[in-house]
């Protein structure tokens, strides 16, 4: 692969996309993304957080791999029994296996974290790009709309919306409960992404290559998707990875307060909330979910940190 001629033929199929720039490497990094990847690869923090996240993601998709027990199976006579060989993390108030419930709790956190990020980034980038590219009154409008949402204190807003919206249905399913939380969190957080997308877009909007692209007959769509977006993506990616962790902790907080996720959804936040009263008698029932929650949030934040230092040349 070190022969440049073979690189040329090997890369043709990939063409057209941003990913193309990560095409066959001849050893030395070349594009921004290849460069960032080379930088990322060198960081232990990146690999540690990636390994942790991999575990959590597998846990979320296939909890059966980690435990054979049913997280919903309750034996009241075992209520708050401490950890033992049969139940590594002990039993909770309802006599359910804490280990199984902690494993199954990963799903809600990962799903909320990832989907909220996707939704917030999607809406935020669209609004930010519209505002930044159009400018003028459109920009003012999108910015003001964003500020309305930013102006609402995050948790207060979430509690307010969730406590009024949630009881719409008698017995909502797990999917509906989770979806409501995801939507509320993204509604309150997209303006942050929009602001970053807008400012990042504005910083490249007047770049010479955008002017050159216009001079060579590029359409507005092409300018946005080929020149503006790819060149303003880095800060958006950083914010997205870092905020994933904060969405997870926000979900846990809301669930703890009783307005976020509820049974039948299994969540670390609920487990912590259910056992605060038994802190001194049965610490294990809330200790293990708390540890999992902290490590999961930490993993996302560390990943965001690693990505940021790889994408921002000033931090190197």
């Amino acid at each position: 692969m070190s022969d440049p001629v073979t690189i040329q033929t090997a890369g043709v199929a990939a063409g057209g996309e941003v990913q193309e720039t990560t095409a066959p490497g001849s050893g030395k990094p070349r594009s921004l993304w290849q460069d960032a990847w080379a930088e990322l690869r060198k960081q232990p923090l990146f690999w540690i957080s990636l390994a942790l996240l991999a575990v959590f993601i597998v846990m979320a998709i296939f909890p059966q791999l980690f435990t054979g027990k049913d997280p919903a199976f309750a034996e009241l006579r075992r209520s708050l029994e401490p950890p033992s060989a049969a139940a590594w993390f002990g039993y909770d108030l309802q006599g359910r296996d804490v280990y199984a419930r902690t494993i199954y709790g990963a799903r809600a956190s990962v799903v909320v974290g990832v989907l909220t990020t996707v939704l917030a980034v999607l809406v935020g980038v669209i609004m930010g790009v519209i505002g930044g590219f159009a400018g003028g009154w459109v920009d003012s409008l999108t910015s003001r709309i964003g500020e309305i949402f930013i102006g609402v204190p995050y948790l207060l807003g979430a509690i307010l919306i969730l406590s009024t919206v949630a009881p719409a249905q008698e017995n909502p399913g797990a999917v509906l409960i989770t979806a409501v939380v995801i939507i509320v969190l993204s509604v309150l957080s997209w303006p942050i992404v929009a602001r970053i997308a807008r400012s990042s877009l504005l910083s490249v909007k007047h770049a010479d290559y955008v002017l050159a692209a216009r001079a060579l007959g590029a359409s507005p769509g092409r300018i946005i998707f080929r020149h503006l977006l790819p060149n303003s993506l880095a800060p958006i990616i950083v914010v997205a990875t870092i905020s994933m962790g904060s969405y997870i902790s926000a979900e846990a907080t809301l669930s703890f307060l009783g307005v976020g996720l509820r049974a039948p959804v299994i969540s670390w936040g609920i487990a912590i909330a259910d056992h605060t009263d038994y802190l001194r008698t049965a610490l294990h029932a809330m200790l293990f979910p708390s540890i999992f929650l902290s490590v999961c949030v930490l993993a996302f934040v560390m990943l965001g940190d690693a990505v940021r230092s790889a994408l921002d040349p000033k931090l190197r």
Binding site: V12, R30, Y209, L216
Partner: protein, 345 residues
């Protein structure tokens, strides 16, 4: 959009007797918070196929703004076109719908910029960027577009074009980057190429190579070239005619030979006198005293009068029109005749 376009623009149907590109009494201003800046104030010039027009002037003289207005890439707001016409093959570009105008960019009129590094998208390989012109405007496949890109890179004399197709802009030297920019600009065989200070960011030997390349490409395809520069040395060899701009106006228009032999405007004369000569060794270099006019507060009368060594009383009150002095040459000075004959001052 991706369909092959054989006939660049519909406007070329009926024969047109005038020049290929004509700028007529163009007026552009910027509305800023500090006031209205008249960046271009009645500029008129034209260029024909195979012809090179050099637009000469210092920063803020309006030469680049005129070019960007021709291309339709001026930021509006704050820019406003106050008046005038820009006719390409006889059709006014300023009244044309944006979609149609876009088709002319790249295909009819194309442009290259001063700093080729910042004028190339840093995220994509150069071959991909050149090829994009063909994929978007001609609907070629990726493979065909890459083949075309190699062809063009050969044409602008980039060595080992095939091997460098997948390199990124930052991996090229300044001169090579400008060649890539030129390759993109001439990809669709435009009839007019506007080069906005194409050699300013380059060192002198590379400057000469780029100018040679532009001249050569022009001969091959018979395109019209508008060369915007502040460097009199660059102009001398390649240009056919020159328009000297000052404070948003053209102050002198002439053929290269005439202008260099005998300037008819004090500003041009000042510029020519500013070129260091070998026989000047040991003496102070000549410079035009003063600073370029503030576009927000233009001097009364002739914009050049505060710096003019030939200044008379009426220069501070009357704006001199661009009038014919002798043959095809025109000058906007009340005393152009005297300047030309070298008796003024």
């Amino acid at each position: 959009m991706t369909k092959a376009v054989t006939e660049p623009v519909s406007s070329g149907d009926r024969p047109y007797s005038g020049s290929l590109l004509e700028v007529e009494d163009l007026q552009v201003e910027f509305r800023t918070q500090a006031g209205v800046a008249k960046a271009v104030n009645g500029v008129t010039y034209s260029v024909d196929a195979g012809e090179t027009l050099a637009v000469l002037g210092e920063s803020g003289s309006g030469k680049s703004v005129t070019a960007q207005t021709i291309m339709g890439i001026l930021d509006m707001p704050p820019g406003v076109v106050r008046g005038g016409r820009i006719r390409f093959r006889g059709v006014d570009l300023l009244t044309m719908p944006e979609a149609e105008r876009r088709k002319i960019r790249g295909e009819g009129i194309s442009m290259i910029f001063q700093d080729a590094l910042s004028a190339l998208n840093p995220l994509f390989p150069v071959g991909w960027q050149i090829g994009e012109m063909f994929r978007v405007h001609r609907g070629l496949s990726k493979k065909q577009a890459y083949a075309k890109a190699v062809e063009l890179m050969d044409r602008v004399r980039i060595p080992a074009a095939k091997q460098r197709l997948r390199d990124f802009p930052h991996q090229f030297s300044g001169g090579m980057r400008q060649r890539i920019m030129i390759a993109m600009a001439i990809a669709l065989d435009p009839e007019v190429l506007i080069a906005d200070e194409p050699t300013t960011a380059l060192d002198v030997t590379v400057q000469a190579q780029i100018m040679d390349l532009l001249a050569e490409l022009q001969r091959e395809s018979n395109m019209a070239l508008i060369l915007i520069t502040h460097d009199l040395g660059v102009v001398a060899d390649v240009a056919h005619k020159i328009a000297v701009m000052y404070g948003g106006r053209i102050v002198e228009q002439a053929s290269v030979f005439d202008l260099y032999a005998k300037p008819a405007h004090p500003y041009t004369k000042g510029l020519l006198d500013s070129i260091p000569r070998v026989d000047q060794k040991g003496q102070d270099l000549f410079a035009i005293k003063g600073i370029p006019p503030n576009l927000l507060h233009m001097p009364s009368g002739c914009a050049f009068h505060p710096r003019c060594v030939f200044k008379r009383d009426n220069c501070t009150t009357d704006v001199p029109a661009l009038l014919t002095v002798e043959g095809p040459r025109r000058s906007a000075c009340h005393y152009s005749r005297e300047v030309l004959d070298g008796v003024a001052g």
